[in-house]
């Protein structure tokens, strides 16, 4: 799918968030000189094409008191990766589950998942349960708690500045 200039203007107009009004697409449409219906059609197309995953929010877990943020990494035999990845992703408290490359010799882990909780001992207890229930005792893992966050910007990037021929993508 190729983004048109109108798409770029549209994305630039909504990337910082939609206005909190009952008909936000009408409001944004007025700003762009498009009808509400045109906006909805195009956003639906962008969503169907997978460029937009959904119209939603990111929860700032720290603001909610979820202070224990554990990245749990696993050294899974390659032929079991698919199976173990699916098992972990299906766990309610696992919020992300990715395969990433090992970087040997320093980093043997190839499966990464995130577990959030209010306290570290709760996170560790949940992890122990996940290992027990899914029979993962044989797979080496390591738990990396975060001690500080320097930048926690939501995963909202895609700054496509209207009027500029070159696409600009940035966080923040």
């Amino acid at each position: 799918m190729v983004l048109t200039d109108t798409d770029r203007e549209l994305i630039a107009a909504i990337q910082q968030g939609l206005p909190m009004v009952s008909r936000p697409y009408a409001a944004v449409g007025t700003q762009l000189g498009l009808s509400e219906a045109e906006l909805i059609v195009r956003l639906t197309e962008l969503q169907n094409a997978g460029l937009i995953k959904r119209m939603g929010v990111v929860v700032r877990h720290r603001a909610l008191g979820y202070r224990a943020n554990a990245m749990v990494v696993w050294d899974v035999p390659d032929n079991e990766l698919e199976r173990v990845g699916r098992l972990l992703a299906a766990e309610t408290c696992v919020t992300l589950c990715y395969q990433r490359p090992r970087r040997l010799p320093g980093w043997p882990y190839n499966l990464f998942c995130m577990i959030h909780g209010r306290e570290r001992d709760i996170v560790l207890r949940r992890l122990a349960q996940i290992i027990e229930i899914n029979d993962l005792q044989a797979i080496a893992h390591s738990v990396l708690f975060s001690s500080r966050s320097f930048k926690q910007r939501g995963a909202h990037y895609a700054a496509i500045t209207p009027g500029l021929p070159v696409r600009r993508l940035s966080y923040g």
Binding site: I40, G50, C97, Y98
Partner: protein
């Protein structure tokens, strides 16, 4: 945050339909009017519990790259290196973690090939190796952070 707020947060994470009146279904589900729901969402946004309500993009689909990177930084140099790393606008989500690899951040670039340049620049400025671990596969998560 009360029970209704929690339900709003959980529903908003899953996303709202792209329709003329996207908040109507949510308002019905929690038994409030749309103006009250909008007020509550605005409060959650103002409190920093939620990021803006808007499009969640797929970086790879847009032609960009997202990579998780890690570095081993001597404790005495940690703040200084954090400053150097965070000065790059492509760096997001920088966390200190308790491990030999103690600094973890995401590099997000407009074009997939630019990630390598950012990483090379960070290595040169800091003199520390960057372990670059781009996503190879994402396992589907049905339910997000339930509050």
């Amino acid at each position: 945050m009360d029970d209704i707020d929690r339900r709003l947060v959980n529903s908003l994470q899953d996303g709202l339909p792209v329709t003329r009146r996207p908040f109507d279904g949510l308002a019905d589900a929690v038994g409030l009017g749309v103006p009250e729901v909008l007020d509550r969402i605005q409060c959650l946004l103002d409190a920093g519990v939620l990021s803006r309500f808007g499009p969640m993009f797929n970086a790879e689909q847009l032609g960009g790259a997202l990579s998780l990177c890690a570095m081993e930084i001597p404790e005495a140099r940690f703040e200084q290196v954090a400053g150097q790393v965070n000065a790059h606008p492509e760096v997001a989500h920088n966390y200190a973690r308790e491990h030999r690899l103690n600094m973890w951040f995401v590099v997000a670039t407009e074009e997939a090939t630019q990630a390598a340049d950012v990483i090379a620049a960070i290595e040169q400025e800091t003199g520390c190796k960057v372990y670059d671990m781009p996503k190879q596969e994402e396992f589907y998560i049905g339910l997000k952070l339930t509050v």
